[in-house]
Each structure stands twice: as C-alpha cells, then as structure tokens.
C-alpha cells in the first residue's frame, strides 16, 4: 500500500510537531538542570552542582511527598475497597448517586475544596499545622480513582455470581473475601493504587493552600523554586521530580492496561 501525502505524511508531520511541542521543553529543563550557566548555554560547561544543591535544599520535600503518597494510597484502600465492594454487590440508583457524589471533589477545582477545608477546620491548630491536613485533601481528590478502578474490575467479573458459587460450596464471608474477592480485584487494586500515588505525588492545586512552611511537598517546593531560585536550580529540581513521576506513570499505564484485560 502506498501512503498518500494527504492521508499519511501530512498528518504524520503534524503529529510529530505536536510531540515536539510536548517533549522539547522537557529536554530543555533537563539540559538547563545540568548546565553551569544557562545564559551562556550548555557549551559553557556541564555540572551536577545544581542537582546536589537541590538535594540539600529540598530533600525533605521529596521524602514527605513519598510518605504522603503512600499514606494516601493506604487510606484510599481502607476507604475505597469496602465502598467499591458494596457498590459492585448492590448496584442501584442509590449506589450510582453515591458514586457521583464522591466524584465531586474531582469535578470541582481543588482550590475551592481547599478553601472550604480551611474555613471549616483551619482554626483547629493541631490539624491545620500537620501533614494530615494535606492527606485529607489528597484522599478526597484521589478516592474516586481508586473506587472506579476496583469497581470496573469487579463489575466485569460479575463478582456476585462468583461469591454465590463460593457460598454454595460452604465458604464463609471471610474466606470469600480473602480467597475470591481480593484476588480477583487485584489488578484493579494495583492499577488504582499506582494511579493514586502518581496523582498524590503531583498534586499542587490543593496542597499549595493546605501546606504550611513545615509541611512542604515536592510540587509546592517546585512552585517555591520557580518563584525565587535561579533557572538552573529550578530546572534541576524539575528533573528530580521527573525522575520520580515518569517511572510511576509508566508503571501506572502498564497496570491499567493489565486491569482492563491486557489490551
């Protein structure tokens, strides 16, 4: 088959242009992060000085972000698994409504949610000052993704019939949960957890409002560096962030493909 100019080469050129627009700035930031002086360009010399400096300045934000992402995933599992299970077992109008409701924090901008949290709970110092406040925001924002991911897998499996089969063979509720429900939901749980971690690591809109100087996360630190540090340090910090988020994204897409049946 010959490939026509209009149907193949032109759109290919266009698509390549789009991907250049998306990738070029990323390459620029990597380059700027290891360049001695960006004004003079990379020819002026390369260095890891900026990366080291970023590590000295912001290592605590990296650690806090990872801990927070882990805690968010655990909280989402504890809250989301039972909810997804109930929604899958008893599909009804009420269940649909509940699913819609928990989606709201995703549809409404994080800024509004953060403001609402601050107004209601901001006076409560021990809560406001700690990382738990950020954790609450992250859980609100990520929970629907976990629930949907698990729910999709459970619904595709017809978990109800499976459980009835196990029950008719004499398996109790605990045994059914541990040997039937959880193993079958595993791909959904894995995909959901990876998605939640990726989202939590990159969350800024809410975190910026909820953080305190003592509870900075990586994206908050990034905003800080963009505003007040030299371009090379900001770039090096961005590179550190990319090194964390890109592997997560790749893993997440693999897990999501596996959860939706290896497509």
């Amino acid at each position: 088959m010959t490939r026509s100019v209009f149907r193949f080469w032109l759109p290919l050129g266009f698509t390549l242009l789009v991907s250049a627009f998306l990738i070029l700035p990323v390459l620029l930031s990597v380059l700027a992060g290891v360049t001695l002086n960006w004004q003079r360009g990379p020819a002026g010399g390369l260095t890891f000085r900026w990366v080291a400096e970023v590590w000295g300045l912001y290592a605590d934000t990296v650690l806090r972000t990872l801990l927070l992402a882990g805690a968010t995933a655990i909280a989402d599992l504890l809250l989301g698994l039972p909810l997804a299970y109930v929604l899958a077992r008893h599909p009804s109008r009420k269940a649909r409504l509940m699913e819609e409701l928990i989606m709201l924090p995703v549809a409404v901008p994080g800024l509004a949610t953060a403001l609402a949290l601050i107004i209601l709970y901001g006076g409560w110092q021990s809560l406001r000052g700690g990382s738990v406040f950020i954790l609450i925001g992250h859980v609100l924002f990520t929970l629907p993704f976990m629930v949907r991911s698990v729910l999709a897998v459970l619904a595709a499996l017809d978990i109800r019939t499976l459980e009835e089969g196990a029950a008719s063979l004499g398996a109790g509720p605990w045994r059914r949960l541990l040997t039937v429900v959880l193993p079958n939901a595993r791909p959904g749980i894995l995909a959901g957890a990876l998605m939640v971690v990726t989202l939590s690591v990159g969350e800024f809109n809410m975190t910026w409002m909820l953080h305190t100087p003592l509870t900075k996360t990586l994206p908050v630190g990034l905003a800080d560096a963009y505003a007040s540090m030299r371009l090379e340090i900001a770039s090096a910090y961005t590179v550190v962030f990319l090194l964390m988020i890109v592997p997560l994204l790749v893993l997440m897409q693999k897990a999501a493909a596996a959860a939706s049946g290896g497509r």
Binding site: L111, A112, L115, A223
Partner: protein, 257 residues
C-alpha cells in the same frame, strides 16, 4: 461516606454560608458576577478556556485520529512521548512554558539569533494559552484515540471508494462518529482550564484569571467572603459543564487528573 461528608460536603456547605456571612451577606454572590473587576476575570477565564478547548480538540483530534488509523514503526514511542505530560502538574507545565517563551527561553533566543528582537510571551495570555494547551493535549488525544479505535474504518473506506473527498469524510463520518468523545474531552478540557491553578500560579503574574483572582483575594486582601463566593461560582461552573457534557453524551466523562 462519613469521611466524605465530614471533609467535603460539610466544608462545602460551610463555604457557601461563609460567603454570605461577609460584609455584604448573600449579595457577595451578586458582587462576584457583576463587579467589573471580578466580572472581567470571569470573562477572561471563560474566553481563554474556550480558545484552549477549541485548539486542543483540533490538535488532539487530528493526531488522535491519525495515530489510531495508521500503523508504522515508532508509533508506540510516539504515543509514549505524547502521553508523557499526563503526569505533570500545572506548576511544572508553567515552568516548561517559561523555558520556551520566558526571558531566558528558547523562542526568545531563536528570534534574537535570527536578527529580530527577543520574543517573550510566557507571562501573557499567550503563555497561559500555551500552558493550558500543553496540559490538555495528552488527555484529549487519549480520549479521541480510544473512540477512533471503536469507529469502524469500513465506513471511511466505503465513502472513499464512492468518491467522497477527504473533507466530506471528515464532516460526515469522522466528526459525527467521534462526537461523544469530542464533547466529553472538550468539557473536561474546558473545566480543567477554568480551574487550572498551578499553571496560572507560575505564569499569571500580571493577568487575572479566576483561580488567581480567588487566590489574591484570599491572601492579599483577606476578603474571605468574596474568595469563598468566587470559588463556589467556579466550582458550580466546572461541575455544570461536566454534568452537561455527560447528559449530552450519556457516557461517563473520564475524570481530570
């Protein structure tokens, strides 16, 4: 559900009441949509978001249809590159725009070396537009690709063999077939652009888009009632757009990341 009620429903209800507790009472909501300063930022945000949505649908739509219709070496890599920015938060996108169009940016350096003046537009509407576009393209692309895979290519083949020119095929087959996906992706793109705080935070130092206006009102003027009213209006707006798109297409609109 208890968690959700305690930390989202209750705070949101409080936010709605709080806005009415200020100097102006319930009129705060009226002020937010009528006072020139707030109204201007509302209009600017809506226009910007609409422009970004249109541009994203065209670029993401074209690339998405192309990638789903052709198989060629390097296709997977290309898709990988195009979806990489999915995980970037708005702040990072803002910084990437600065690297492109900022004072020490690539576009400025190029235009200068070509003998012109240094072009810098990162901190204007153009920069915001570029940033929102960057943020939205991967999301729209994925949605369109998924929808185009399900669209039967035989329809296009039939039209082509009957002598339909490419434009007719586009208008009569591709666009109607992809309509639900386009509406869904467009609504999502519009809603995220309306609420995009991260990108605006790094770029909008001089222009007032809604999320920045809320933030300034909250931190600088400490007018909490107005900030609360504005964020509620913003929240209602984005939610309404998404809900409308969903009822129009009957399908679930995938959530923003």
């Amino acid at each position: 559900m208890t968690f959700f009620t305690a930390f989202w429903l209750l705070p949101m209800a409080r936010l709605a009441l709080f806005a009415a507790d200020g100097r102006e009472g319930w009129a705060a909501y009226l002020t937010v949509v009528t006072h020139p300063r707030y109204f201007e930022s509302l209009v600017a945000t809506v226009l910007l978001s609409a422009a970004v949505t249109a541009a994203t649908l065209v670029t993401g739509g074209l690339s998405g249809v192309f990638l789903s219709r052709h198989r060629f070496p390097g296709r997977r890599t290309l898709i990988g590159l195009l979806t990489l920015p999915l995980a970037f938060p708005g702040v990072v996108v803002g910084f990437l725009v600065i690297l492109l169009a900022g004072r020490q940016g690539l576009i400025g350096a190029l235009s200068q070396s070509l003998g012109g003046s240094r072009i810098v537009f990162a901190y204007s509407m153009g920069g915001l537009f570029l940033g929102y576009l960057y943020f939205s393209i991967p999301r729209v692309l994925l949605t369109v690709m998924a929808a185009a895979e399900k669209l039967d290519p035989a329809l296009e083949e039939a039209a082509r063999s009957l002598g339909a020119p490419p434009l007719r095929i586009l208008l009569d087959i591709l666009i109607p077939g992809l309509m639900p996906a386009l509406i869904g992706a467009g609504a999502l793109c519009f809603a995220t652009s309306m609420g995009a705080f991260g990108t605006a935070f790094t770029l909008a130092t001089r222009i007032s888009v809604l999320p920045m206006a809320i933030y300034t009102e909250f931190t600088l003027f400490a007018d909490m009632a107005i900030a609360a009213a504005m964020s509620l209006v913003l929240g209602l707006l984005t939610w309404a757009v998404l809900a409308l798109a969903r009822s129009a297409t009957g399908a679930g609109v995938a959530a923003a990341a």
